[in-house]
Subunit: 231 residues, 2 copies
Amino acid sequence: MSRWGMVKKTRSSQRREEALSRDRIIEASIALLDHSGESGLTFRTLSERLATGPGALYWHIVNKSDLTTAACDAIVARTLEAPQVGATPKAAIRTLALGMFDAIDAHPWVGSALTRAPGQAPMVRILEGIGQQVRALGVPGDAQWAAASALLNYILGVSGQNAANAQFARAHDLDRSNFLESVSTAWSQLDPDEYPFTRSVAGQLRAHDDRADFLAGIDLILSGIGSPLAQ
Amino acid sequence: MSRWGMVKKTRSSQRREEALSRDRIIEASIALLDHSGESGLTFRTLSERLATGPGALYWHIVNKSDLTTAACDAIVARTLEAPQVGATPKAAIRTLALGMFDAIDAHPWVGSALTRAPGQAPMVRILEGIGQQVRALGVPGDAQWAAASALLNYILGVSGQNAANAQFARAHDLDRSNFLESVSTAWSQLDPDEYPFTRSVAGQLRAHDDRADFLAGIDLILSGIGSPLAQ
DNA sequence: ACCTGAACACCGTTCAAGT
DNA sequence: ACCTGAACACCGTTCAAGT
């Protein structure tokens, strides 16, 4: 308080306490993405939050794509870190998949970051987790890649859709149930001759349990992997 | 030629012949996206191509998201328009899925547009095509949604990955095989203790047939749908 | 070595003004 | 009714200059 009278010009932006680091930048990005969605992360808001200038960030990160992938990887790493000892391979795959589903539900931006980083660290973590269990399942060597990548692609598909739903809802100022409601209404008004199936499931959409449906898909693929028809 | 001397000031931008229309704008957008990728479509390049100003486009389209979805929908509609008479339901699903795969291979931007338009027209077309065949397959009513959405999510997952691969390759000035090569190399240099599975499939990645792998995943899900374990 | 912040080259979108 | 194009409010990224 006594300092107030001592300076002619108060510095409006408080000086940061700690030095910048890649980790601090990533943590701040996660907080921003969680709070304001994908469009909430800009170099200006981020540097403001970190009490620095936009240019300073480039000393620690390559570019925005690198930053988003790194933030995504941090979430994925935390999600998958619990080792699954004692579980059957199928149970382990279900647990891993549900873990990812819940993580993306909590951080929708992770879904789209994941789909935009093909072959990169976060995707590799998921592939590895799945692949190890596919092996443990006894799938023959030459069928392991097909089984693991089918599961991975399904998970990425659901991830992307969940992220898109959340972003769409945010952009139109709807919550999740209002969003589903509006899609359901639109589907039920489609031409009955051209869209009989979609019309017939419009009602289910309103009430359905995303998480249960997600798991049903995983189980479908798992039983396909175990089916003699597939081998 | 003789006109050259007749005017003091030649109008640098040629006056367009036809009036603007939503359809002409969408066709021009498709051409631009095919030629220059997702980043190639801007209101400035598009309006230049159509010999008009950026603002004029807003008389016919809502915004950029609407434009991209409409362009995507035009491609999806063309891809799915051939009616599948006489094919078995499984064959029809395979044909539909492969059709989408090839369309996205030819127009990678369709993959990301698809994942960014949840519940919208292009996605509904695909869902309807799949759903009708799932019904024809004899799947009971209460399991139809799970079966159709598993297939849809898998297709969307692969779509998104293919689009991301193409965009990543374009951004780094690589062709497809160079891109796979670089991912494969990166994977084979991972820590053997932490990433045994991913390392073991790194080699397969280099030589693998995307299209065949995609179909293998569809078959896996189809045999899961037909498996007694799943019902 | 690390940070600053103005400047650059873009975006999508709006809107008064024209025809 | 439809189009024009300047202007607005942003972006990510760069870079000379500082410490």
